[in-house]
Symmetry: C2
């Protein structure tokens, strides 16, 4: 049974890669920078993204978000408070987003035209394992890690950190009560992905957001 | 392809259920209480378990732990500091433990005899989704949630909370800087699993551990 699973999984990932390649062409043609945000549940992806959307809006940029969850549209409702267009993808038990879900939800989205967007953020399902294998056509994959989670996460979930283009440390404002060992965390991230850009942020206080926004502009070019 | 996946998944889960039933008989015959600890990565399962093992030892109870991770044996080494026998299961990319892995690692474990144990803890891979579907033969499934994670986790991951026998809230010592809304968290847990026993704990300060240990003794009978 294991062989059949491996073959089937390979087939699914191949099909996903093809769909993702199509999405990537579409995104490039539209001139929109697409980012895929991956982290554990509870890292604070939604709070970080809500603040990012709000600040981008303040800078006059056009940004939208697709947000994946097993159930509920809590995150879409929270993100909508930023004023940006947001659409929820409910996976109903699937522990990751795939390119097909993203394509479908873009097609049916009356509110936005890709050509008018500067940024599209895709907030993945909270999971450090499976999302790593599914390309969504993004240009930038962002691995998020909070100061509450333990500094060894990059070593324990190498596939995510190894496939990420940027790392964001969240909840920096509570680093001290959490006993967060900053040096060790940075060292572990660099061990898995040498030279990766790392942002140390707090969605609550705004620390690190300016540098993050500058990076977004840089990459968008 | 989706139909084939669903069928194959059903086959795998059926096989797992059979193996888990065998394990459960074995555990019952040996008189050992087996608990399966499930949470997001970074909730503090290992710190909570390390303190539990240490305090049980102080009470003269015999406890051991199996600990699942994709890679590394960091957790096994941390847990071993409690003095209890600990064995690491590396899943090499699989995002959950299954009954077969548990059976295999018990069989090759020279250090312990199930009959001599009072408690066996199985620390699952950090993941709120897939472990919910895999019975490990445990008698008690424990869902853990930290004060740093957001009070809506039970609503977003209903399968786990709905299949749990007990819920443990961790890192209570940093509830305040995290802005944790206790009432909302309790309400959300009870909405998914009415009447479930909930323990509010800190592995750092020891708050709530006494009640948790009393519960373990109670269930063991």
């Amino acid at each position: 049974m294991t062989t059949r699973i491996v073959e089937l999984r390979r087939g699914i990932l191949k099909k996903n890669d093809e769909l993702a390649a199509g999405l990537r062409q579409r995104f490039t043609a539209a001139g929109v920078l697409v980012l895929n945000l991956v982290s554990s549940p509870g890292t604070g992806k939604t709070a970080f993204l809500e603040r990012t959307l709000r600040e981008l809006r303040g800078h006059g940029a056009h940004a939208a978000a697709l947000v994946g969850d097993l159930e509920t549209d809590n995150d879409a409702r929270r993100l909508a408070a930023s004023g940006a267009p947001v659409r929820q993808i409910n996976t109903h038990g699937i522990c990751h987003l795939d390119a097909e879900m993203v394509g479908k939800h873009l097609d049916g989205w009356e509110e936005i035209a890709l050509e008018e967007l500067d940024y599209l953020f895709i907030e993945n399902v909270g999971n450090l394992v499976c999302p790593s294998s599914y390309d969504l056509g993004e240009r930038i994959r962002v691995a998020l890690l909070s100061v509450t989670e333990g500094e060894d996460k990059p070593l324990k979930y190498p596939t995510l950190f190894n496939s990420a283009d940027a790392a964001v440390i969240t909840k920096i404002d509570i680093a001290e009560p959490c006993g967060f060992d900053r040096e060790l965390a940075l060292q572990n991230i660099h061990e898995i992905r040498p030279g990766i850009r790392i942002f140390e942020t707090s969605a609550k206080t705004g620390v690190g957001m300016e540098e993050w926004l500058r990076y977004l502009e840089e990459v968008r070019g």
